[in-house]
Structure formats: structure tokens, C-alpha cells
Amino acid sequence: MMVENRLERIRLLSERFQELQGLRVAVAGVSLAAAMGVYLMVAPVPTNNGALAALLLALAPMVPGVWYANRYYSATFGRQVSNPVARKNKATLVFLLVYFGSGWILNTTFPAIPSGAPTVATVALVSLWVAVRDWPWRGYYVGAPVAVALTFASTASAGGTLDPGKTLAFLFLATGVSLVPIGVLDHLLLVRLLKESRESLARRVN
């Protein structure tokens, strides 16, 4: 039973190694939250289109930040290629096609829905899926959909008091803020799993 637990941990770590490199997510979250925070403070009248422009600005610190985090992980924790790459690439391509296709249909059919809202909803749903898939290890992923749901509930379109023009900026802000602890917790889980794996093996060998 002990052997199985140890190997299950090793398997989880190896399978989720790329996903557990959480500092990349945390950097993306900080960039998103900072861009939206600055936009909400600086813009005289925040609008949903303005929030989309701020999202593009968030990419400026995000891209080099994620690149640095990538380098840190490969230098400190090593490199690993997920299994199987070809199938994952195909799945990503299909997902992107469906995502942009449905986004375009939503934009043209329901102009009342802000352009970035499906993105936020997708991030929330994917986070929920990760929490369920890796329960209880990564249960903290529930934080993202909860943050998005709470923010949405406070907007005018859901009966709240928040100005409709600020909806998108606040949704992006909530997503960014929730991604920071999620990323840090993923990173800590990676470190913890590595440590436990090493210690249990040392106990077995000695």
C-alpha cells in the first residue's frame, strides 16, 4: 500500500509536471490583475472595449515573465515532454477552433455579451475541471470559478450594483487575482511532491 502511494505520487508528479509549474500562471495572473487594476484607476469612464485593450497591454509583462519562469523551471526542476504530444496538439487546435468559432457566433448573435466574457467563463470552467480531475490534490482550483461567479453576481446584469461598463474589467481582474494564489499553490505542490517522493525513496533504499 505504501509502495503504491509513493508511486501514485510519482506518477501524478510526472503526469502533471508541466501544469504544476505554477509560477508561470502566477506571473500571468499578476500581469492581468495589474493591467486591469491600473485601467480601472486611470480610465475616466471604464468600458468593456477599454478592458479588452488593457488585456492586450497585460501581455507586455506577461510574455517575458512567463519566459523567465519557464527558464527557471527547466534549470531548477529539469525538462520533461508530456505524453503524447501529437494528440495534445490536435486537441488544442480543435479547442481553439471551437473557442474562436463560438466566440464569433456569440459576438454576432448576442451583442449584449461583452467580447471577453466567454474567455473568463472558459478560464473558470477549465479551473473547475482541473479541481475535479485532480481532487483532492488541486482542490484550490475551485477559487477561480468562485471569484468569477462572485464578481459576476455583483454586476448589474446579474442584479448587482456594479456599473455594466466595468463588468469585463472586473471579471478580468477577478480572474487575474484568483490565478495568483492558484499558481503559487501549484508551485508549492510541485515542490512538496518532489520532496516527498525523494524522502520516501530514501527511506526505501536505506
Binding site: L13, S14, F77, R79, V81, S82, N83, S197, V205
Partner: protein, 118 residues
């Protein structure tokens, strides 16, 4: 009751004795398990995962490679040399067979426990 069990199927201890030593060793089993969950992994990753020294990990990988369970690939990223290890098809089959046998041992131990209780 115990005699009939011994005649009809091998005991868990007999199963244990038949385990492939190349796979059953804790460090090598950890390496194989890690490699079974990915396409390939480099030396630094495997060292971080197992906590083995460079020399020990090299020796285990060499044994696995000579057993045909693992393939080693040496490449460069820029000027940095990287050693990747990947499970071969034979390695995957052997690991699968190992887990099947392991399950049989576990079931056998469970049966022995119930026999002792009754």
C-alpha cells in the same frame, strides 16, 4: 484448505521471487513509473524526483538501458548538453506485466489473511 490453495496457485512469496529484479528495485521502479507518465524526461528531472546522486542515477539508467527498458538520447539546447531518458515499448510492456503480477501478489496476501482469520 491451505494445502489446496498451495496446489492450485503459487503463493504470494513465489510470485515475489519471480519479480524481475531490474524493475523491482525501488529507485529503478520510481524511474520507470515517472517515465511511464511522460514521453521523455531529462536527467535533472529524474534526479530531482528520485534524490539519487548523479553517479547512482547514471548507473540505474545504464542498467535499464542495457535491459532494453529505457532509451537514452543526448542532445544540446544551445550550448547546454541535455540527457533525455524515455521508456521503450518493451519497457512499457514489462512495467505493465510487473503491475499485473504485483496485483496478483496483493490478492494472494489478502486471501492468506482471510484464511488465517477463518
Amino acid at each position: 484448505m491451505q494445502t489446496s490453495l498451495r496446489v492450485s496457485m503459487p503463493t504470494p512469496f513465489e510470485h515475489l521471487a519471480s519479480f524481475d529484479r531490474l524493475v523491482h528495485e525501488p529507485a529503478r521502479l520510481a524511474i520507470l513509473t515517472a517515465l511511464s507518465a511522460c514521453a521523455k524526461a531529462d536527467f535533472v528531472f529524474l534526479r530531482g524526483l528520485t534524490g539519487l546522486t548523479k553517479g547512482n542515477l547514471s548507473s540505474h539508467l545504464m542498467k535499464l538501458e542495457s535491459g532494453g527498458l529505457v532509451s537514452i538520447e543526448k542532445t544540446f539546447e544551445g550550448k547546454q548538453p541535455i540527457t533525455y531518458a524515455a521508456l521503450t515499448t518493451e519497457g512499457r510492456d514489462v512495467l505493465k506485466a510487473y503491475w499485473k503480477r504485483f496485483d496478483r501478489v496483493r490478492k494472494g496476501v489478502r486471501q492468506l489473511k482471510t484464511l488465517r482469520v477463518s
